[in-house]
């Protein structure tokens, strides 16, 4: 639970929204002045989703209890969901598998 004030949260949402819109508008607004994205920038942009998403996911299952622990229910459920995500690439199947395994393990303990 956050201790941040509503005002600060409004500012964060506002800046995130404005910045995101400017990214989306960037080349649409600049066309005519900027012809293409440099090759290196293009390669970096392509790699952002796999890098950032992987960096978000892993600690949430390896540090589920606050410290490094591969024996948690969440780690086991996360690994199984990871296999389902890899094989099916389906959001619903991944959430379904991960939550079912987690609930099952929690019910057994």
């Amino acid at each position: 639970m956050t201790t941040y004030s509503p005002t600060l949260i409004w500012i964060l949402i506002g800046l995130a929204g404005l910045g995101t819109w400017l990214i989306r508008l960037s080349f649409i607004a600049l066309l005519g002045r900027v012809a293409t994205i440099p090759d290196l920038a293009m390669r970096i942009l392509r790699l952002i989703p796999p890098a950032v998403l992987a960096a978000i996911v892993t600690p949430s299952i390896t540090h589920a209890s606050g410290t490094f622990d591969l024996g948690t229910d969440r780690f086991v459920a996360g690994i199984i969901a990871g296999v389902v995500a890899w094989r099916t690439k389906n959001v619903l199947a991944t959430i379904g598998a991960g939550m079912s395994v987690l609930w099952l393990l929690q019910a057994m303990s």
Binding site: L12, A16, G17, P50, A55, P59, V91, Q106
Partner: protein, 230 residues
């Protein structure tokens, strides 16, 4: 021209083409709403990110960081890094949007998403239409996604306050990211970027200010770029 949607008016065709994707967007939106309430945001703020930011993965990451009182600059930077990929979509859509009015450029930009971009670029490649028809198609797809996201995240905010903690629904957030990361890993460079970022994120989890995510992502990008040069 063998797509059934090719015979429809462009706006409708866009909507019909994105419809199957919306099935997967709905639970994602519900989870974003629930997560925002659980992070301690009041209902209006928990919902507000959906129309103001309108970018699911970054909203979930932002909510997670706000819930942990991460440094404000890190929160905003994380959102912008996650959304930087949309500069690619902006560049790819720019030729089509070139002669549209500034107003259309403004709201057409705001509504860019991974999904509506993906279906639109396929259509633009397959069917020869005027920029205005293409914009209609793109808006049909984008508005379909926008409305779905708004309804789903609003539903999540409403449900959110009533979900018992023992259901552990916060775990659905990493599960959503997991479902998104695998389709993004499609060659050697992206595999190396993901594996490097994942292991670095574990190693740097206790960096101050919740900087671990940004540092690990940066290392993943560097590793991926180095390997994609060969």
């Amino acid at each position: 021209m063998n797509q059934p949607s090719a015979r429809r008016a462009p706006f409708q065709a866009g909507f019909f083409d994105i419809a199957p994707i919306l099935v997967g967007v709905f639970p994602f939106g519900i989870i974003a709403g629930i997560a925002a309430v659980e992070a301690g945001l009041d209902s209006i703020q928990a919902y507000a990110a959906s129309p103001i930011v309108f970018a699911g993965a970054s909203q979930l990451a932002m909510i997670d960081l706000i819930g942990r009182d991460a440094a404000p600059i890190v929160i905003v930077a994380t959102v912008l890094v996650i959304n930087a990929r949309m500069a690619m979509y902006s560049a790819a859509l720019a030729p089509t949007f070139r002669d549209l009015s500034p107003l259309r450029k403004a709201y057409g930009s705001y509504i860019i998403t991974d999904q509506s971009f993906a279906v639109s670029i396929v259509r633009f490649d397959q069917i020869d239409e005027t920029p205005s028809e293409r914009f209609s198609y793109y808006m049909g797809a984008s508005l379909g996604l926008w409305v779905t996201w708004q309804i789903a995240s609003l539903a999540g905010v409403i449900i959110g306050s009533g979900v018992p903690e023992k259901w552990s629904l916060d775990f659905a957030v990493p599960l959503v990211f997991m479902a998104l990361v695998f389709p993004a890993i499609n060659d050697r460079a992206s595999t190396i970027a993901a594996v490097t970022a994942a292991t670095s994120a574990v190693a740097f989890v206790s960096l101050p200010l919740n900087l671990g995510l940004l540092v690990a992502s940066g290392l993943g990008l560097v590793a991926g770029v180095i390997w994609s040069r060969e």
